[in-house]
Symmetry: C2
Subunit: 300 residues, 2 copies
């Protein structure tokens, strides 16, 4: 099936969506969708039946795990900042569309001046590099969270890592590859670029980072994976997904950021929300609700 | 600003989105967006401050009324059914994109075999006819709810209608025009076309109709305007919008359909939800929550 807009009656529209934050143009990019069997124990502290019921209520197959992936490109007027890369060429079928959707939005890979990385899972970093090892964004500086780098680039830790974690150590080395020496590392609280501030969001991984993006008097936050699908985990903020490395810290981070988003009425973009994956957080009993932003066309 | 995909760096992706219901392909079409001053008393039984606060929590300007419009086209394998038309050529700036988005989705106006109308407000029927009076869908049968027709086509009622309602009587006559004699009228409960059943949904207007759309073992419901923006009115199901002609009946209809959608875990498409305007209804305290469906690409 083709992504081309007019090539066939079953093609989808290109998966990009623009909106404005002050003078910045933010473009949400659809990297794709993965549907796989839902692993037993996907949520550590809820029964598989309860989780299946929550999935079914959202129209998702009860026994499947459906995930979408949404990097952001931000035209700042002084270069294009890409936040996370999607899977690139080597991901599961149905993914790897970031580059073609970037092209559909009129942005060439050479225009990307900075790639900001939230954390070092494959769906966020594997798209840095082609299968042949060449960088996808040849002119971009790559900037990553220092605590994430410290954890995953520690060879001693890799040597003693549990088997389940070892592939990700390898993937990280492949993604940064020969350019590892030139990767910029930033700390939580740093203004990484004008208008972009790194926010502590660890738990899912040891160094996961959210970013506030501000221009003029407008701002938003890219919250990365503080939830897997927020339709599930905003409603059930205390559910611990099996992908979260530190469950307690994950939940503390999730509640802090969702509380702030609700209090500040701040636009947020999730990596795993339904495309275009941007909206607002409302308090809802003991949990939260993700409310999608209005889609405007032309870009508003 | 152009809608063309690659004509400029600020163009939005085409506003269509495909999904499947059994053997049917459903295409959500973005007719556009209107932002206007929010009239005082927009919600009859809530204060303007309370309503403004609810808008702001969703990232919508507090004192503006932001509305989007989403007709559906359904390829049935035996013709294309269009449900509601958008504003057509004569609507407010930023609207009237149904036809161009239909083209972007690869559907020619001549392929539309039936236009189903939910109710007779301009954003749902004005796109039946061009400014010069020619029909936009030349080969389509037009099918409308009998109780809606009975109300608006009653010349005696028009003569004594309150001033505020008179323009809509005129608009209805303009939209059906010389073809009024060939318009098909259906009743609530009728299977209007194979797989399409008319569901009583009056209140917003005297004859408003929802449609269930079923193929194989899958089904969904187009719920028309049982809410203005469902992000607001699903959370506040007892709020009475000033556009609802019979407030009590509107709320009874809204609760009946939202209850059913939540109980049946049934996909619903709203006319005024954020594009692609399709998702699921969850119970939420004394109200409901609209959860968008996952966006898949390629069309799933």
């Amino acid at each position: 099936m083709s992504d081309a807009q007019t090539s066939g009656s079953t093609s989808q529209a290109p998966g990009f969506y623009r909106f404005r934050i002050g003078a910045f143009e933010v473009v949400a990019l659809h990297d794709g969708v993965v549907v796989r069997d839902r692993p037993a124990g996907f949520v550590r502290n809820a029964s598989d039946e309860e989780v299946g019921e929550a999935f079914a209520a959202l129209g998702m197959p009860r026994d499947k795990l459906t995930l979408t992936f949404t990097p952001l490109a931000i035209r700042t007027g002084n270069g294009v900042v890409l936040i996370d890369t999607g899977f690139g060429e080597g991901g599961p079928p149905g993914t790897g569309r970031t580059l073609s959707n970037l092209a559909a939005a009129g942005i060439a890979p050479e225009e990307v001046s900075t790639v900001l990385i939230s954390h070092f899972h494959g769906d966020h970093i594997a798209g840095l590099r082609r299968k042949d090892g060449t960088p996808v964004y040849p002119k971009a500086e790559i900037a990553v969270p220092e605590p994430e780098w410290a954890f995953w680039m520690d060879d001693a830790r890799m040597a003693v890592a549990p088997e389940g974690l070892k592939p990700n150590f390898g993937l990280v080395r492949q993604a940064f590859g020969p350019d590892a020496g030139s990767v910029r590392r930033f700390g939580w609280g740093d203004e990484v670029l004008p208008g972009f501030t790194a926010i502590q969001a660890n738990g899912h991984t040891p160094g996961m980072t959210a970013f506030t993006i501000g221009s003029g008097n407008e701002s938003m936050m890219f919250v990365a994976d503080i939830t897997n699908n927020p339709l599930i985990f905003a409603r059930h903020p205390d559910w611990q997904a099996m992908f979260d490395m530190d469950p307690e810290q994950t939940i503390a981070t999730r509640r802090r950021i969702l509380d702030q988003a609700a209090a500040d009425k701040m636009r947020v973009s999730f990596y795993h929300a339904p495309f275009p994956a941007t909206g607002y957080i409302l308090r809802n009993g003991s949990g939260y609700e993700f409310a999608p932003a209005l889609w405007t066309n032309p870009a508003g």
